[in-house]
Structures are given as C-alpha cells and as structure tokens.
Amino acid sequence: MAVKKRKISLFDILNVTGFTLFSLIVLYPFWQTVVLSFSDAEAASSLGVNLWPDRWIPDAYAFVFSYQNIMIAYLNTIIRTVVGTVLIVSFTVLAAYPLSKKDLPYRNFFTIFFLIAMFFSGGMIPDYLLIKNLGLIDSRFALILPSAVNVFFIIIMRNYFMTIDKGLEESAIVDGANYFQILIKIIIPISKPVIATVALWAAVYHWNEWFHALIYIQDDALDVLQTVVRDMLVAMDLTQAGSQMGGGGMSNADLMLSNVRAATVIISIGPIVLIYPFVQKYFVKGIMIGSLKG
C-alpha cells in the first residue's frame, strides 16, 4: 500500500498555527518561572512581565540546594515514584483484566466493590489510626501501600481492555494458553499506550503527593521532595505570622522570595517533566500509524 503524498491544505495551516499559538501561551508561565528563578532579588520583586533576566544568576538554585536535606528528599521521591508506580501499574492490570471479562460471574459485584472505595473514604483520622496501628508511621510503605490500588485507573484500563478484539484471545485459548499467559503475551503488549498512560499518571501522582508524607513521615531521612518544597514555599509565608506571634527567633528573612519559589518549582518538576518524552513514544508511534493510513 503506497502512502500518498498530499498537498498541504488550509486545514493543515490553521491546525499548525493553532498548535503553535497554544504552545506559546502555555510556554509563557513556564518560561517566566525559569526567568524568575535565574533573576536577582531586585528583578524578582518588580511586578510585571520579564521575558529575559537582566543577568542570569544561579543564586536561588544554590540557596535551594543548600537547604538541609533536599538531596535525600530527591532520592526518597525517586524511590517512592519508581516502586509506587510499578505497584500501581501491576495492581491496575491485575484488577482491570478480570473486570474486563463480560462473562466473568459476579462481575458487577466486583466492579461495585471497587467503585465504592472510590467514593467513600473514612477520612483522615481513621486512615491515620490505621497506618499507626499497622506500624507504618515513618515507613516508606505508608506512602506506597494505601495508594497502590487506584480504582480510577482500573476502570480506565478495564475499558481499554474491553475494546480489544476478542478474536485474539479466543485463538490463544484454543491454543491452550491460560489467562495469565494471555495477559502477559497478548493483552499487555497491545495495551502499551494505556499502560504508559497509567504509568505516567501514577508516576506524577507519586511525584507530587505530599499530604501522606506530611502526616505519616516524621523522620527527616525519609522526607520526600514535595514536603521539603512545601516547607520552603509555605514556611516563608509563616515569617509573617512568626513576627506577630512573637516567635522571636523565627527570622528566616524572606530574601528573594519569588526567585527561591521559582527555582524550587523548577527543581521540583524538572525530572518528572523530563520523563514524558520517554512515555510519549507509545502514543506517537500509534498516532503515526493512524495518520499514515489516513
């Protein structure tokens, strides 16, 4: 089958222009943050738009990296993200595949079992007591286990599995394969796009999650990046309260507040933003097939 070379239509021009414009609009705040993170205090405290710093200064980054345990926090976040993502993806696949079988007896019961958990939670207090009673306070497991089963992801993946051509599976069954083999050999390979999506979602969730870390982790050695970041962003707000409350010693002068904030943001989102191109190939390749044929 030959791929036809087609003329560039008006639609193509509009489409490309549209996406270019959108990219610029979207890039703006990001760029502004980058600029701010490399500016000096003087520039940072002036309101208005700055598209290029007067001078590129790495001071804000130096300040952030001098913060006591940011490197440990980085490492902890990476560990958490990798392990947590693997766990979420595995459990999502394991639960989604059976639920995608329309002829599975009592399927509705199981679906509802999962769904209810998505909508009702006991809230912060019983969650905390549970973690405490399991002895998971100050343990990495407290960050990974409670979120290991994500019903939203399960439903999305289940739905994807349901669109897969039944013929593929049936022929495998005829060949004597069991369900686990089918899952590994057939379903997973053709579901790479959705698995990549869920993996991305899970990784981003674990990367950004701070609340569990905040309440379950007290040991500095286990702190994650986001709590340190929040510490830096929020603690600076507290200098205001500090003076009024009479915390005499609380005098972290908020020099270069906006620069430090900006640098903190760049540092904290950098790695997770960079993994995207790796995941992206699972989407774009597919799209390429689609559009080539189209």
Binding site: S45, L134, G246, G249
Partner: protein
C-alpha cells in the same frame, strides 16, 4: 521494637483499631492532688521520661541536641522529641484528633478553647498548689500582671488551671503606625507635623524618620490628594496613588480606624449599647471616608487583587505614598526585609525617604491603634496532656519555670554567647544572633525547641535590635502613648465566665466573610453604604453575631480587669 511487633499483628487489625478508639476515655479532673507526697522542688532523684514540644517547634529538633542534653542532665529527665511541626495545621489536626499528644504542647493561634480541649479529654488541669511549689517565677509573673491569677481557671474551680499563659512584652505598646513618603512631602512643600528624627545613622535607617506628632484626617486627605494628583515623583505622569491596601488583612488601616476610635473585632459602647466595631455607626462613617477616597481616585484600584506580599512589592516600585509600619520595620530589622515600607529604602541607591508619624487624629481628637492583646499583656496557652501524672507534671513545671522565666536559661534559646551566638551590637543592649554553624531554631542545637512564647522585657531585648528598642522607648511603648493611644475593647472575657470565645471561634468564618464582602464592595462603590447598611448589620447579627455580642455583654469591663 514495638513497631515490628505491631507489624506482625496486622491480623488483629480490626480489634486493634477498636481498642485505640476506645482506650482514651479516662477523666482526669476532680482528683485531689496530694502535694505533700510529691517530691520537693529541686529533687530530681527519679529519672522521668518526657515527651516534650514547645510552642514554636517545627519538629526539626535532632535527637541528642545541645539543649536537650543539658536539660536532661540538669533535671534528670529523658526527653523524647516530638517530631510535629506545630506550624503545620494538618499535622496538628491529626495529633489532636487521634488523641496522640505529647506531654506538653501549644498551638499557633487558638483553634479550640482550653475548655473545649478539656471537655474533649485531651488536657489535664494544673493545680495551683503545684504551680506555687514548682513554678514560683511563673506565679510571680501572674501576680505582677493582673488578672493573670484569675485567668484560665477550670470551670467551678478556684485552684485548677486549664493552661499556662505567656507574657507578651514584645507587643507592648502600639503595634502599627502610619508612614508617609517624606521626599514627596518635601517636594510638595508639605511640612511634617512635628520635629523629625532619624531612626538610625546607617543601614537605610538614615532614610527613615519619625515624629511623635500626627496629621489630622483632613490634613491626611489633602496630602493624599497631592500624592495622587500633583506628580510627587516628578516623572510627569499621573501614575501615583496615595494608598495601596491589600485584601486579606486590615493592618493597612489600623491607624485610620483608630482616628474613628475603632479597632477591628473589638467592641465599645455606642448609643448606650455594646456594639462590635464592624457593625457600629462609626465604622460606617469610616467606610464612607474610604469610599470617598476611592471615588476620588486616591486608592489604588488594583488593591482588590493584592494580598499583603504583592502590596509590599507594589510599594517597592515607589508609586505609593502611604503605608503602615511596625517599629521593627522602621528600624529595618533583619526579619522585616522585603516588607513595605522600608523595602523602598533598602537599596543603597534609593533616594526615597520615609516619615513615620503618630496615628492620624480624627474629628474629636481621637487617635490610636488597636492593642495587640485585648486585655493586658498576657496571651497564648501552654497545655499539659491528660496522660501526664502528678510526678511528671512536677518535673515539667520546674523545667517550664526555668527555661521560660529564668533568664539564666538564655542558653535554651541562644546557647552560650561567644560560643553559639553573638550580640549584634552592644552586649546586652542589642539582639543576639546565632552563629551560622548552629541551627538558629531547633536542629542540632535545639534552640527554641522546648520554650513557650513568654517574654519579659529582658528576653525581648534578645531578639530586638537597639534601634527598635529605641523607637519603642521614644514613642511606640512610651507610657503616655500607651495610655492615650492603645484602643482596647470595652468588655472582654478573659476569665472564662462566658462562652464568648467559643462563639467567636464558631462563627468567625462566616462573620469574616460577611464583613469582608461588605467592606470591599463599600470601598469600591459597588454598593450604596447607606442603603445596604441595615441589611448588612442584620445579616451579621443573624449569622452568629447576635450570640457573640450577647456573650461579650456578659463579660467584665476591660478597665476593671486591668486594675
């Protein structure tokens, strides 16, 4: 070890949960303490394990820190550091909700009243006899600061306290005062209201002046007009504003309100009736003045989207003529860097000058600023957990009394002067600065980790620069200034006789929403103040205001309390 045993028992999870939920149900009140059977003050023969947290702790104190080791040795205790960030609302919430409290604790702000904490079974009472025996300095402080001895008593008891209280000498006197751009005044040919003095010789303080005289409101209006329309910065553009407030707090107007005799959230007698500031006729007049100024274009219209920080940044651009300041702002103390108004002159190249005056004088000669604390200088609360035994309490009180009220205990905040910290200027007359190799707060040093927010005059000196001290002496905390310009509520309940605090806490959110919305809309002219006023007051009263007011009315007169 315990932790691993628990992991193994996950099978018994449900029952474990049930136990946790039920096990916290022992009342601690009503038991008579046998003081005689407790050890003498200073007798530390039994080693005691204490789970301590202070009132400014961020939970960052490292185990085995300097202060901890010294305290353990001195009082024969084993201290377990509580790794809770008391500034973190969520952590504190959980700590409270799960009943998982350290032996001592304090909150930032007052989320619940002492009575509510006691009723919830979280805290124990502190017998007066034990305070007399183990915390003599604290008792002396209470005696010197009436009505200290009568505050925080448990309901229906004359010798049981629900919490310990702090002395807030650092907020003695006026908190805020107005400032004007002095260079603008000079350029426009407007004289200062009185003789002016420099705050200090260097460090941008030479560009900040103060006077104990004030402008009248009429004069202020004329100045504001000149600031806005007469091109005070001489750039030929009409781009200046007299005042750029912010939308999240009221500090920008405290002295303006004072010219009407008003203080946010306080109460006074108007037409023989107790009213709260926000629903008083005077407040209405004050709003009308602001609305008039807004209409005249004196107020920066962008203020509705500025919070206090953005407002500082805006001021720094040099287009605003008026701002309020604390004494330490004027003295350009370290922790105030970046705040308006002194952020404008921080830069050595800046030619701007700032003049702080006494609060503006209103129609009938009124001038003043809300007192930081409604009654006296006592505030805050230090609680003892319900699980603490009398023996433990005895030791806790002795530690408390020493580290917070004995000024020999300066090392708990700053270590040894010359080893851990140094005087900023003249010894004993300027602030103490912790050397950078030690954590200024907590960390390996443990400074500030166990202390409570109570500061007598000497302690205040430790964290206050000499310039700030001088400003306080010369004006902010001068006796006649305090006498004439501090606005206190007419009635206030500090003796827990009424439900005032409970009502305030309960309705605070809704009442603030109602007040904020009305204030903003009134100022920007979105509503007609006269037309909407009655509806607003009614709304305020019907959404909890009535209950708050009724309880306030039952409270003591502040003037009686402070006798």
């Amino acid at each position: 070890m315990k932790k691993y045993a628990k992991v193994l028992s996950t099978a018994a999870l449900a029952s474990a949960l049930f136990l946790t939920a039920c096990s916290n149900n022992e009342a601690t009140s009503g038991k008579k303490v046998d003081i005689a059977s407790l050890p003498d003050a200073g007798d530390y023969s039994d080693i005691i394990e204490l789970n301590l947290s202070g009132s400014v702790t961020k939970g960052k104190a490292e185990d085995g820190n300097y202060v901890q080791k010294r305290l353990e040795e001195q009082f024969n205790v084993k201290i377990i550091n509580t790794k809770v960030d008391t500034w973190n609302k969520d952590q504190v919430n959980l700590m409270v909700a799960s009943g998982d409290l350290p032996d001592t604790f304090a909150f930032n702000g007052e989320p619940k009243t002492a009575k509510e904490l006691f009723d919830a079974g979280l805290i124990r009472t502190i017998p007066k006899e034990m305070l007399e025996k183990y915390a003599p300095r604290y008792m002396k402080m209470l005696e010197e600061n009436p009505p200290g001895l009568d505050m925080n008593k448990s309901a229906g008891s004359d010798n049981e306290y629900l919490s310990l209280i702090g002395l807030y000498s650092h907020v003695d006197g006026l908190t805020w005062t107005p400032t004007f751009r002095l260079d603008w005044l000079e350029k426009l040919g407007i004289d200062p209201p009185g003789e002016i003095k420099q705050v200090g010789p260097s460090g941008a303080r030479e560009k900040i002046y103060y006077t104990d005289k004030a402008y009248t409101l009429e004069e202020v209006e004329e100045i504001f007009k000149a600031f806005t329309f007469d091109d005070p910065d001489g750039n030929g553009k009409n781009d200046t504003y007299a005042i750029s407030p912010y939308n999240d707090q009221m500090h920008w107007a405290v002295s303006l309100m004072g010219a009407f005799g008003l203080a946010p959230d306080y109460n006074f007698i108007e037409d023989d009736q107790l009213v709260v500031t926000e629903i008083s006729k005077k407040y209405k007049e004050y709003l009308k003045l602001l609305a008039k100024w807004y209409d005249m274009g004196l107020i920066d219209p962008e203020f509705t989207t500025l919070d206090i920080k953005k407002s500082w940044e805006k001021y720094k651009q040099g287009k605003i003529g008026y701002y309020t300041a604390q004494s330490s702002y004027l003295a350009n103390d370290d922790w105030t860097k970046g705040r308006a108004p002194q952020n404008l002159v921080e830069n050595p190249n800046s030619t701007a000058k700032i003049l702080a005056t006494a609060p503006e004088i209103g129609k009938d000669g009124k001038q003043g600023v809300a007192s930081f604390i409604p009654v006296g200088n006592l505030a805050d609360a230090f609680y003892v957990s319900k699980d603490v035994t009398d023996e433990e309490l005895a030791r806790i009180l002795q530690i408390f009394d020493y580290i917070n009220l004995d000024n020999d205990a300066r090392w708990t905040l700053y270590g040894e002067v010359g080893v851990h910290s140094d005087w900023e200027g003249e010894p004993e007359k300027s602030a103490l600065i912790v050397r950078p190799e030690y954590a200024a707060e907590e960390g390996n040093s443990g400074f500030w980790a166990y202390n409570f927010r109570t500061y007598d005059k000497e302690r205040v000196q430790w964290f206050t620069s000499e310039y700030t001290m001088n400003l306080r002496k010369e004006f902010f905390a001068r006796d006649d200034v305090k006498e004439n310009m501090l606005i206190r509520p007419y009635k206030w309940d500090v003796l827990n006789k009424t439900k005032m605090k409970e009502m305030q806490l309960r309705y605070k959110g809704n009442l603030k929403t109602i007040v904020d919305e009305f204030r903003m809309k009134a100022i920007v002219g979105e509503i007609d103040i006269d037309k909407e006023w009655d509806k607003y007051v009614e709304n305020w009263l019907n959404n909890g205001g009535k209950d708050v007011l009724a309880e306030m009315d039952k409270a003591d007169k502040v003037s009686d309390l402070m006798k």
